[in-house]
């Protein structure tokens, strides 16, 4: 069973004259790593939003973890989102919260954070190289640090699926590579990873399949 299944998916924004995505069929297997590539405006972010169910298909079927997203209740959507980690280009860290609190947030939603979970958070922050910045708030962090906090927050629940939208878009090349190494390390531990990017350099640097969206909004290719 695929972890992610797009079947003839079309998406049209309200009041838009033409669909942003159409005829999209894509199956992602558990444990895989895929890039979603294509120039800006081709629909990568739309596809990304559909992956975390912020948008639902106008036509066709999208199944996540075997569930047809169109039939899910709001509570079920929330439950599935907890099985996913999401990394945004603009980080989406909460400005009032420290690094520690931002990373603990997904755990706190499920109740009080236990001592074991706190230990796990420390290990993750150590893994992303931020164990020395626990009390810092986002505005005190560099772009690379913010993105690593976002990754730590995304993986703290040990997600089965991690999706990242242009995770290296707002950081320099060196930090971009470091972030990609973190994501590949997660993949090695069995997490399914989907990275949306428009950077050909990034795709070339890492030897993973690339799903290419072309300008006519069609899924053009899935090539290594």
């Amino acid at each position: 069973m695929s972890m992610v299944e797009f079947s003839q998916v079309q998406f049209t924004y309200p009041k838009a004259l033409s669909p942003t995505l159409q005829g999209l069929t894509l199956h992602l297997q558990p444990g895989s790593f895929h890039f979603i590539c294509g120039p800006s405006g081709v629909g990568k972010t739309t596809l990304f939003k559909m992956l975390y169910m912020d948008l639902l298909p106008s036509k066709g079927t999208l199944r996540l973890f075997g569930h047809d997203v169109a039939t899910l209740s709001r509570d079920q959507v929330a439950q599935i989102r907890r099985r996913m980690g999401i990394v945004f280009q603009d980080f989406r860290l909460l400005p009032e919260l420290s690094v520690w609190e931002n990373v603990c947030l997904p755990l706190a939603l499920q109740g009080a954070v236990t001592a074991a979970q706190e230990k796990s958070v420390r290990e993750i922050l150590d893994w992303v190289g931020l164990s020395h910045r626990l009390e810092a708030v986002p505005e005190q962090l560099s772009g690379g640090e913010k993105q690593r906090v976002a990754i730590a927050r995304a993986v703290v629940n040990r997600p089965k699926l991690l999706i990242a939208d242009e995770p290296t878009g707002n950081v320099d090349d060196g930090m971009g590579k470091r972030i990609m190494h973190l994501l590949t390390e997660l993949h090695k531990h069995g997490t399914t990873v989907v990275v949306a990017t428009h950077s050909q350099d990034l795709v070339r640097a890492f030897n993973f399949p690339c799903v290419l969206l072309n300008a006519s909004n069609q899924l053009a290719a899935a090539a290594a």
Partner: protein
């Protein structure tokens, strides 16, 4: 690190409207407490007065009524079923009662007032007939005729108090609804992030309700203290009111603000769930 990050993330405490909510809830809770307490106190006053009037009839006799007639009348009245006691009001008491009306005429001979303790089943017309027979110029004052009118007046005043209480509850509802709505609009970003990482509508509503409830608790406590202070002061300034300010009044003052707090909690829950469900926040 002790505070739950989810609560901190969706903190309404920085919101000016939420800060104002404490004061508003204190004032509205206080108004509600006084309205409900007034209703209860009026009911107590009315019931006490009704009981007193239902069991008492006064007979006004001319000043020149001879003692023999008084004795005869007293004996005949006591012989009636339901008349429990007949007594003549002391002259000093009658003088006190009439003092405001007599003025300079204080030396005039005073009428005599006979008080009858009766059961509610007594036929007053029968008593009137006996009085007319023994002392033709005497009159029987049956305050029970007034009971209906007084009851109506009391009910009207009580309705006013109830309307005031309901109005304040309505204002609380609107105020809390608008505050929660505005608070959520201001918290669109954290709300969206929390939803993205798996917060359910219920969780978010609970986080908001908890915060409003915490704030409301302060307002409720202030309202309660203000209300109790006012009732206490009334008892001190007008000691005659003391007998009407029994435990039901104190209880009403204590419970009404808690009712307001309950309404605030329910409104927060309903509005928060509706707003979160409808997703009025623009996509961040």
């Amino acid at each position: 690190m002790a505070k739950n990050p989810a609560v901190k993330a969706l903190s309404l405490h920085r919101d000016r409207l939420v800060k104002l909510l404490v004061v508003m809830l204190a004032l509205l809770g206080w108004l509600t407490a006084l309205s409900v307490a007034s209703w209860v106190a009026l009911e107590q006053v009315y019931q006490q007065w009704r009981l007193a009037q239902e069991q008492q009839v006064s007979v006004y006799l001319p000043a020149a009524t001879p003692g023999v007639s008084l004795d005869t009348l007293s004996t005949q009245l006591l012989a009636q079923v339901g008349v429990q006691n007949v007594s003549l009001l002391p002259e000093a008491e009658v003088r006190n009662l009439l003092a405001p009306y007599l003025g300079d005429e204080a030396l005039l001979p005073l009428p005599k007032v006979m008080t009858l303790q009766i059961t509610p089943q007594v036929a007053v017309k029968q008593l009137q007939a006996i009085v007319q027979q023994v002392v033709p110029d005497a009159t029987v004052d049956d305050a029970r005729d007034l009971l209906g009118q007084v009851a109506l007046a009391v009910r009207i005043v009580q309705t006013g108090a109830l309307v005031l209480a309901l109005t304040t509850v309505l204002v609380v509802t609107l105020l809390v609804a608008l505050t929660v709505r505005a608070g959520l609009q201001a918290q669109a970003f954290p709300l969206r992030v929390l939803q993205t990482i798996g917060a359910t509508d219920q969780m978010l509503a609970r986080l908001l309700m908890w915060q409003i409830w915490q704030r409301g608790l302060w307002g409720c406590a202030m309202a309660m203290m203000l209300g109790l202070a006012v009732v206490g002061a009334l008892g001190l300034v007008w000691p005659t009111l003391h007998s009407y300010l029994g435990w039901p009044v104190w209880l009403a003052v204590g419970l009404a603000p808690m009712g307001v707090l309950g309404v605030a909690g329910v409104v927060t829950w309903v509005v928060a769930r509706r707003v979160v469900r409808r997703g009025v926040m623009a996509t961040v």
